[in-house]
């Protein structure tokens, strides 16, 4: 019985994470400017990835692989720090080089 609960929880986290990843990719295509595209991907990607990896952690914690749980926890902690820092770095480079932000009413770039 517990195996069914673990399976359902894992599937729920996986679907939640995959939905946010698809949203991030759609935002990369739809938004009209460089800065707004980074908004869509830099945040939805982080949350979606953490949700998927957390679901995998629950699955392998039940099936008795303790080292895989530790390694996935390392990836999650690294990701919370590394993804926002990468997004900030590339946005700062664009701002310093002179890419102009988009206001409401202009055309797409």
């Amino acid at each position: 019985m517990i195996e069914t609960v673990v399976d359902v929880l894992t599937t729920a986290f996986l679907i939640f994470g995959a939905f946010f990843m698809v949203t991030g990719a759609i935002g990369l295509l739809r938004f009209p400017d460089f800065y707004t595209r980074l908004h869509a991907t830099g945040k939805c990607d982080t949350l979606g990835e953490v949700a998927i990896l957390f679901g995998c952690m629950i699955y392998s914690a039940y099936h008795g692989m303790p080292f895989v749980v530790f390694k996935l926890l390392c990836i999650i902690l690294f990701f919370f720090i590394a993804n926002p820092t990468g997004t900030h770095a590339i946005m700062k480079a664009a701002y310093k080089t002179g890419v102009k932000p988009w206001r409401v009413g202009e055309e797409r770039r």
Partner: protein, 172 residues
């Protein structure tokens, strides 16, 4: 080498070696202890410690009351996670709406936080909660790009996040 240098070298070496053992899983495997991995771990941890024990993380001698700050930080993380989940739904709504209601602007503001770690935590939290991304930090002035009015208001007017970070790092 005085006492603090020696202590930092030993602590760094121990942390690196324990991390190697946990990652290479040479204790839990059923073929017995694999001596190549144990000795290799000693060599690799030694090399990494030789390069990096000068950039100390733990015994820098600059901060005080580390345990209180760590204890409060552990309670800050679940609040941050809840804000991330709530506001990511907001970004997903803006992406999938057929009319795409966005209104991007760049904001500048000043903070009253003083230390390096607290400013880094604030910048990282601003980039993690959807609606705002930190563009630059110069001294105590933050440049932030916001995507809609509601997110910008919550950052400028309410100052919830800045109060929470100031509470965690004990700077009022």
């Amino acid at each position: 080498m005085n006492r603090k240098d020696f202590l930092s070298v030993v602590v760094t070496f121990l942390i690196m070696y324990v991390f190697w053992l946990l990652l290479s899983a040479c204790i839990g495997s059923h073929h017995g202890i694999d001596y190549i991995r144990v000795v290799g771990g000693l060599i690799c941890a030694g090399i990494v410690t030789a390069f990096s024990h000068k950039h100390r993380l733990l015994f820098t001698g600059k901060e005080e009351k580390v345990l209180t700050k760590a204890y409060r930080f552990i309670f800050y993380v679940p609040w941050l996670l809840w804000q991330i989940i709530l506001a990511n739904f907001d970004v997903a709504y803006r992406v999938l709406h057929p009319k795409m209601p966005i209104n991007p602007r760049i904001i500048e503001f000043d903070t009253t936080l003083r230390g390096d770690i607290s400013r880094t935590t604030l910048a990282n939290s601003i980039t993690l909660t959807p609606g705002t991304i930190t563009i630059e930090v110069k001294g105590s002035r933050f440049w932030v790009h916001a995507i809609a009015d509601k997110a910008a208001e919550a950052l400028l007017v309410d100052k919830t996040m800045q109060m929470k970070v100031a509470y965690v790092f004990m700077e009022f």
